[in-house]
C-alpha cells in the first residue's frame, strides 16, 4: 500500500477522474483510512470549485457573424484581387479545355468505330471488287482475321458461288479468291484494295 506522500500526488488527478481504475481504487481505499489525505482532497475540490466560479465565459452570440463582417470589410489589395481573378479564369479555362478535349475524344472514338461500317456500306453499294477467303478444307493452324479496313469476307461454304456472304459480291469481280490459308501466325490478316486490284496477306511476326 502506498503512503500519503505518494497518494498526495494522485489526489489532483483523482479529483478530476483521470486515474486508471486500479489507481482510483487504491486512492479511494487510502482515503477511507487517512484523514489528512481526505482533507487534502477536500481542499483540492474546493479550490477547483472556486477557480471555476472565478472564470467568466464571454458571450459568443454573434461572434461568427462579427468575424465574417470584419473579413468582408477588409480591403483586398489590387495585386491579390488580380491574382484571384486569373486563378478563377484558369479554373474556368481548365474546365472548358477538359470539356472540349473530352468531346473531341468521344468524336474520334465514334469516328473510328463507325468508319469501317460506313466504308463497308459504301463499297457494298458500289459493287466493289472484293477479296474472298474461303474456309479451309483442312484444319487451319491459324484463324484468318480480317483487318478493320478490309473488304475480305470469310465464309464457311466451299462453293465459290455460294460463298459470297454479301449480296453485292460478284465472284467474277474478285481479284483473288483465297480457298485455304494456313499460317502459324495467329494474327494473319487478309484484305483487298479494289482501287488497285491488290489482295494482301499480312503475316505480322510475333
Amino acid at each position: 500500500m502506498k503512503d500519503c506522500e505518494q497518494i498526495s500526488l494522485l489526489l489532483g488527478p483523482f479529483e478530476d477522474g483521470e486515474l486508471e481504475p486500479h489507481e482510483m481504487q487504491e486512492v479511494a481505499r487510502h482515503l477511507a483510512t487517512c484523514k489528512p489525505c481526505e482533507e487534502m482532497l477536500g481542499d483540492y475540490a474546493s479550490i477547483g470549485r472556486e477557480l471555476r466560479d472565478i472564470i467568466t465565459i464571454p458571450p459568443l452570440t454573434g461572434f461568427a457573424a462579427g468575424v465574417n463582417a470584419r473579413i468582408a470589410a477588409r480591403r483586398i489589395p489590387l495585386r491579390e484581387r488580380i491574382g484571384e481573378f486569373f486563378e478563377s479564369l484558369n479554373q474556368r479555362w481548365a474546365a472548358a479545355f477538359a470539356m472540349v478535349s473530352m468531346a473531341g475524344a468521344v468524336a474520334v472514338v465514334t469516328a473510328l468505330v463507325l468508319t469501317p461500317y460506313l466504308r463497308h456500306g459504301v463499297t457494298g453499294l458500289q459493287n466493289a471488287p472484293m477479296a474472298k477467303v474461303e474456309s479451309p478444307t483442312a484444319p487451319s493452324l491459324a484463324s484468318t482475321t480480317t483487318d478493320e479496313s478490309s473488304h475480305a469476307l470469310v465464309s464457311s461454304d466451299e462453293e465459290p458461288q455460294q460463298m459470297a456472304s454479301s449480296p453485292n459480291m460478284n465472284p467474277g469481280d474478285s481479284h483473288a479468291v483465297i480457298r485455304r490459308l494456313e499460317s502459324e501466325i495467329p494474327t494473319t490478316a487478309v484484305w483487298s484494295e479494289p482501287e488497285n486490284g491488290t489482295t494482301v496477306i499480312w503475316l505480322p511476326e510475333q
Binding site: P160, Q161, P171, G172, S174, H175, A176, V177, I178, R179, R180, L181, E182, S183, E184, I185, T188, E193, E195, N196, G197, T198, T199, V200, I201, W202, L203, P204, E205
Partner: protein, 166 residues
C-alpha cells in the same frame, strides 16, 4: 486407199492439235521482294510501277526493291524463289479458271513453312504477302501471275485445265 487417207487425216489432225495438247499452258510468275521501312528515303526508282500501289496500301516512308524474279512455268510445275532473309517461296500454278489462275503458295522461313495458301488470282493480278521482318523494316513480297488465258465472264464455266488438280 481409203485407209491411207484416213491415216493421213488422223495424222494431220494430230499435228494440228499437237502443240496445244503436248505443251501445257505456261504461266508467267513475277516475284518482287521489297523492303519497307521508315527511314524516309522514298521509293526506289526501280519500283516505278509498283511504288504508288505500295504507298496506297501501306504507310512506310521507304520502299526499296531487294530482288526481282520473273519466270515461266508450265501448269502444275512448282517454282521456287529465294527471298531475302533466308525465306523461300514455292508457287505452283495448277489451273486456269475463267480469267483466274489457281495456284498454291507456300512461304518458308528456312525449312519451316510459315504460310500455306490455295488461291485463285486474277490474270495479271497482284497478291502481296507482307509482314515478315527484314533488316530494319518489313519484307513485302509482291506476287503477280500472267497467262494467255481467255477471259470468261462466267466463273462457273468449265475450267480450262491441262490437268485437273481436284
Amino acid at each position: 486407199m481409203a485407209v491411207t487417207m484416213a491415216f493421213a487425216v488422223a495424222a494431220a489432225g494430230r499435228v494440228w492439235a499437237g502443240p496445244s495438247l503436248a505443251s501445257p499452258q505456261k504461266i508467267g510468275v513475277r516475284v518482287d521482294s521489297v523492303l519497307a521501312s521508315d527511314t524516309h528515303e522514298g521509293i526506289d526508282t526501280q519500283l516505278t510501277p509498283m511504288g504508288p500501289r505500295l504507298q496506297s496500301l501501306f504507310s512506310y516512308s521507304t520502299y526499296h526493291l531487294v530482288s526481282h524474279q520473273e519466270r515461266q512455268t508450265p501448269m502444275g510445275t512448282l517454282l521456287s524463289f529465294d527471298l531475302p532473309g533466308g525465306r523461300i517461296l514455292h508457287i505452283e500454278p495448277h489451273a486456269i479458271e475463267g480469267d483466274m489462275i489457281a495456284m498454291e503458295l507456300v512461304l518458308f522461313q528456312g525449312e519451316r513453312p510459315v504460310m500455306t495458301t490455295d488461291l485463285k488470282l486474277r490474270n495479271h493480278g497482284v497478291l502481296i504477302v507482307g509482314g515478315p521482318r527484314y533488316e530494319q523494316g518489313m519484307l513485302i513480297i509482291s506476287i503477280g501471275a500472267d497467262c494467255r488465258c481467255p477471259r470468261t465472264a462466267d466463273m462457273g464455266a468449265r475450267p480450262i485445265t491441262p490437268h485437273s488438280p481436284e
